[in-house]
């Protein structure tokens, strides 16, 4: 148990929907994250995949403490981050850092690179003495593959990939154990994506980091992740090590998601078992009863309306899957 660095228990975040201007009354809630359990071990990468609006980014914000959870626990080194306030929270935050999605908006355009990467030291002055900070910033820039001579440049003088490296250097400044990457490469070119992914992997090896890697690009997640969790409408519906999810998906939604990954070989096109889902994602303000996926599922029966399937190992699934009728179906490999 000692190598667990982060544990999330029954985490929920409901955004209230209000009516009225002066006297607001709550008329409902958007259940962005609704009962998520996660475990992250030292040196491990946990991929979180799901389509837009499934609550991935809200989950990231909850974990790094940008949003207060409605209920549930976020345990870092045995302390519940969700309950902390003030200076205790500030100290705890040193251990979890964030790499953001868009490198063009995540760096303050009026601060130099040195100020951006050095800001964590100003916020947490106990980490490094003032005289040492400039040297540390230079080291951090070198660590992410940038020249320390660029310390006085402004973000707009860098390319997207270089900016993302600056964002990573900022996240590394306080030597955290956990880094939450919220779609860190989806705004970059493919060739640059590979560079940034390789950088993240190298840093993980050198510094023993644990990543929560949130993305909607399944191939990127497969490349970097040790374990994968698939999210749908605020819940995790299937989780396991990457080969379990990618080669033996058992939840219908995970199968549909994986069947949408493009096949690189054009001669195999159309030979794969492709699942095309019908309908839209239901509103998270009014999710369906029972299984949340039942409105779009071809396997839906009476029991799916009445009973919510738990995320457990089942007869048809060797790893946890939240489907009453979990069974394997090969959607990734082409069949003749």
């Amino acid at each position: 148990m000692s190598d667990v660095v982060l544990e999330v228990r029954d985490l929920t975040k409901h955004f209230p929907l209000t009516k009225g201007i002066v006297f607001k009354r709550q008329v409902g809630a958007v259940r962005a994250v609704d009962g998520v359990n996660l475990t992250l071990r030292r040196g491990e990468t946990l991929g979180v995949v799901g389509e837009s609006g499934c609550g991935k980014s809200t989950l990231a914000k909850l974990i790094i403490g940008l949003e207060k959870p409605t209920s549930g626990e976020i345990l870092v080194q045995g302390q519940n981050l969700a309950r902390m306030r003030g200076s205790a929270l500030r100290r705890a935050r040193r251990n979890i850092q964030l790499v953001m999605q868009d490198p063009y908006t995540s760096l303050n355009p009026r601060m130099t690179v040195g100020d951006i990467v050095g800001e964590p030291f100003q916020i947490h002055p106990e980490v490094a003495p003032r005289s040492d900070r400039r040297r540390r910033v230079g080291e951090l820039l070198e660590l992410v593959g940038l020249s320390p001579d660029h310390i006085n440049r402004y973000p707009h003088q860098f390319s997207g990939g270089q900016r993302q490296r600056i964002g990573i250097a900022r996240a590394l400044a306080l030597r955290p154990e956990i880094i939450v990457c919220d779609e860190p490469v989806s705004a970059l070119d493919l060739s640059i994506q590979a560079q940034v992914i390789n950088l993240l992997e190298r840093l993980q090896e050198e510094l023993g980091l644990s990543y929560i890697f949130i993305a909607h690009d399944l191939s990127v997640v497969r490349h970097i992740s040790d374990r994968v969790a698939v999210m749908y409408l605020g819940k995790i519906i299937e989780t396991g090590v990457d080969t379990e999810i990618y080669d033996h998906p058992t939840h219908p939604y995970a199968q549909a998601l994986l069947s949408a990954v493009p096949v690189p070989d054009p001669t195999l096109r159309g030979l794969r078992d492709q699942i095309i889902l019908e309908g839209d994602v239901p509103s998270p303000a009014n999710p369906p009863s029972g299984c949340r996926f039942r409105t779009r599922c071809w396997k839906a029966r009476e029991v799916c309306v009445e009973q919510e399937p738990a995320l457990v190992e089942r007869e048809g699934s060797a790893h946890p899957s939240a489907c009453h009728f979990a069974e394997e179906r090969d959607v990734v490999h082409a069949t003749d």
Binding site: M100, M111, E119, I123, D149
Partner: protein
């Protein structure tokens, strides 16, 4: 050969200096401003006019209130380079002494408006919720008063009219538009990713506001403030013209323009031209400097 070596060495040295110098936004902006001819010219004009306002005796030894009536409406000559007005007062001395009222009204009113407007706007935009509701409604109430009418009513309630009562009237009536502008740009800036990133690092509200939000939200307020400087100089003249602002024997560019304009067509255009030229040059200098400052504070334009 030695020249080359020297240039290499100096380049190396400046590169080292580049690494070691503290590169804050304001330091960079200051370095940038010093290289702009327009900014330097505007600053020189502002310094000159400010010195007229603070130390008029540096510029003239003539008393502007010593008016021999036999010299009435003299055209410019060696003895009176700007001529004299209808009472025979030296017009150059009056123009110099008139700077004080205009500069004080413009600078102090704008500073007060900027201070109150920025604080209210920042609080309303950053904290939102009931703070925003209360402050915005308060601003709406003041906003509903027409500026000139409001100033007329405000000043007519007061017994004595000095520069400071005019400043007070302008400040009381002037902050709501600025608060709205600041609120809007703070609202737009506070949800930017880099603000969220700083928040996730554990930055305090003060750091978020003054280090991340304000520098990125200040540009519209700076532009409006420089325009306000000009507006207030002109408004002071308007109020004086309407008889509710400063009154003779006080001297201000506004009063001089108001009185001088009636003699323009009767052959004494200098009575309008000199104060009007000083007024325009001052207002223009403030606007151009504000423009240069806004550009200097944006690293993308460097």
């Amino acid at each position: 050969m030695t020249e080359q070596v020297e240039s290499v060495i100096s380049a190396d040295r400046s590169a080292q200096a580049g690494i070691e110098r503290s590169a804050s936004l304001w330091a960079d902006a200051w370095r940038d401003l010093r290289r702009r001819p327009v900014a330097i010219a505007s600053a020189v004009v502002i310094v000159l006019v400010s010195s007229m306002a603070a130390f008029p005796w540096l510029w003239t030894r003539t008393d502007p209130r010593d008016c021999p009536i036999q010299l009435s409406k003299a055209t410019p000559s060696a003895a009176h380079i700007f001529g004299t007005n209808e009472l025979g007062c030296d017009y150059y001395a009056m123009t110099i002494y008139g700077a004080r009222a205009s500069i004080i009204v413009a600078l102090v009113s704008t500073s007060l408006v900027l201070l109150v407007g920025a604080l209210v706007g920042m609080a309303a935009g950053f904290y939102g919720g009931w703070v925003d509701s209360v402050l915005s409604r308060l601003a709406d109430i003041f906003f509903a008063l027409p500026f000139l009418l409001g100033a007329l009513v405000f000043l007519s309630m007061l017994r004595s009219h000095s520069v400071w009562t005019i400043v007070l009237a302008f400040a009381v009536l002037g902050w709501p538009p600025l608060a709205r502008i600041v609120r809007a740009s703070v609202l737009a800036t506070k949800n930017m990713d880099y603000v969220q990133a700083a928040r996730s690092l554990g930055a305090s509200d003060r750091r978020l506001l003054f280090r991340h939000i304000l520098p990125n939200a200040a540009a519209p307020a700076i532009v409006v403030a420089t325009i306000l400087l000009g507006t207030y100089v002109a408004s002071e003249a308007t109020l004086s013209y309407l008889g509710i602002g400063l009154q003779p024997p006080e001297i201000s560019w506004g009063i001089m323009i108001a009185q001088g304009q009636s003699y323009v067509t009767s052959g004494y255009p200098h009575l309008l031209l000199f104060p009007a030229a000083f007024l325009s040059a001052t207002v223009l200098a403030f606007i151009l400097l504000g423009d240069a400052l806004r550009d200097a504070l944006d690293p993308k334009l460097r």
